[in-house]
């Protein structure tokens, strides 16, 4: 016999206290993941509880408050008062600049994708802090593409459609090339390094697509405990 059933057994003898029923309904509606019907509530309450009365009393109690008890399709739920909707939707928009490291990392991923963390570090000549890639992933400009078929099977990164959209590019082929950069004075005329624009359609032969690989997150604590 469960605790609730025990209670129910008791409640058949002692009639339900309306104040208590109201508290119970209030708690149930608050904690429920979806709206509940009067029948749902009755089922979960001690036998003999006057659910209708409790709902009416609660509706009255919450009227005009910041939260209201509403009935939709014969189901009840709490929801915030309609006139306060602006509080829920207001977005704070902050304009921010990416750090130099983040911008450079983004640029490398854009021009060299699919690329690995090690390659990024090699080109930048400095280690990449975890936060940098995380930030780019979080902004949604960089995504995991798959894994390189090389020892260690490192994860490969590429840019997203959101990246192209943000920078107003129709495709990766529209990234400024060496000649544009020279024209902009960003590169010396004498720059001769190999400079290839990524082929947007390129699927590296040595890359396993993401879907095939279990990118299980390693247990984070392993990294720190030893």
């Amino acid at each position: 016999m469960t605790e609730a059933e025990t209670d129910a057994a008791v409640e058949t003898i002692v009639p339900a206290n309306p104040v208590e029923t109201e508290r119970q309904v209030e708690a149930l509606l608050f904690a429920a993941a979806e709206p509940l019907s009067a029948a749902d509530l009755a089922q979960r309450l001690p036998h003999g509880a006057d659910v209708g009365r409790a709902l009416a009393a609660l509706r009255g109690r919450y009227a005009g408050r910041g939260v209201e008890l509403v009935c939709v399709a014969e189901r009840w739920r709490f929801s915030t008062a309609p006139d306060l909707g602006y509080l829920m939707t207001a977005e704070r928009e902050e304009s921010r600049k990416l750090s130099k490291a983040a911008m450079e990392t983004l640029a490398i991923i854009a021009y060299h994708q699919p690329t690995t963390r090690a390659e990024i570090e090699q080109i930048r000549g400095v280690g990449l802090s975890k936060g940098t890639l995380d930030l780019l992933l979080q902004i949604g400009w960089v995504k995991l593409r798959g894994r390189r078929r090389s020892p260690g099977r490192p994860v490969t990164y590429g840019v997203t459609d959101a990246f192209l959209e943000h920078f107003g590019l129709a495709s990766l082929a529209d990234l400024p090339g060496a000649s544009e950069m020279k024209a902009l004075g960003l590169l010396d005329a004498s720059f001769t390094g190999d400079f290839q624009l990524p082929d947007p359609n390129r699927q590296d032969a040595d890359e396993d697509p993401l879907s095939e690989v279990g990118l299980d997150a390693p247990e984070f604590h392993q990294d720190f405990l030893e």
Partner: protein
């Protein structure tokens, strides 16, 4: 208190579980988590403030426990035996008259006893902390948060206003940096060998009766042909020339620092050959 009171409960399940966990040395046959745990449970049987427990009595109880366990051939973890030995020692010290002790060397037994009592108090406090925590209403066990939170919360959207120029700039700068970093001399620099320079100078000796500038003596690399650079030719010729000065075959002079170096064959040319 009779011996029965502190006879250990023989908890074989705990022992087996411990074996499976690989913790056999930590959790012992009797289900106590180490000697301190056992001591605490023994101390509680004295039903006094843990700080006021009789350490000699406690030592007796512990030693009796250890003896009993050994009699029943339970393997005891080493730390139980260490603790037993230490308690026996402490007890003997506590029973000695104070002046018989060499307190400076071995420490005050009263201090040691109080120390042990404090350790037990602290472990006991942790146990009570655990009980207090367990008694609290816990989330999703006794208390429940909103089951269906609304869309919201602090949706701070951050807009990054980076433009393509910044991107290209970031990339170009790195490529330049990488290029500078990646400078590797392209292969070996070919040098004009000293031997060759010496050989050549000896051949030229008959023509060097007058002071001649080094720049004219040194060979000029043919344009468009891979070979030693002009600088290398000059350097090697100078070196070879100085060696021959030392040998007495040549004379050298320089009018001023960084000025042109002139070479001339010494007069008794034939003698040196």
């Amino acid at each position: 208190m009779s011996d029965r009171t502190y006879q250990p409960p023989l908890d074989f399940d705990a022992a087996e579980a411990a074996l499976e966990d690989g913790d056999a040395l930590v959790v012992d046959v009797d289900g106590f988590e180490g000697p301190l745990d056992l001591l605490l449970s023994l101390a509680r049987q004295q039903k006094v403030d843990l700080l006021a427990i009789s350490i000699t009595k406690l030592a007796d109880q512990f030693l009796a426990f250890v003896q009993e366990a050994r009699r029943k051939r339970f393997s005891l973890a080493a730390d139980y035996l260490v603790m037993a030995a230490w308690l026996a020692f402490l007890k003997s010290r506590l029973m000695l008259p104070k002046k018989a002790l060499v307190a400076e060397v071995e420490g005050d037994p009263e201090d040691m006893a109080r120390e042990l009592a404090l350790r037990l108090v602290r472990l006991d406090a942790v146990r009570r902390g655990v009980e207090a925590l367990k008694a609290r209403p816990q989330l999703r066990r006794e208390v429940f948060p909103r089951g269906d939170p609304q869309s919201l919360v602090i949706t701070s959207t951050t807009r990054f206003d980076e433009d393509l120029y910044a991107l290209a700039q970031a990339y170009a700068q790195q490529r330049k940096r990488a290029e500078a970093r990646a400078y590797i001399p392209t292969g070996r620099v070919e040098a004009y060998p000293l031997e060759a320079a010496r050989e050549r100078l000896r051949g030229l000796l008959p023509d060097l009766e007058a002071w001649s500038p080094l720049a004219l003596i040194a060979p000029r690399p043919a344009a468009g042909v891979d070979g030693p650079s002009r600088a290398s030719c000059l350097a090697s010729t100078l070196s070879a020339g100085l060696e021959m000065v030392k040998e007495g075959a040549l004379e050298a002079q320089q009018a001023e620092i960084l000025g042109e170096v002139y070479l001339r064959a010494r007069t008794p040319v034939a003698a040196s050959l």
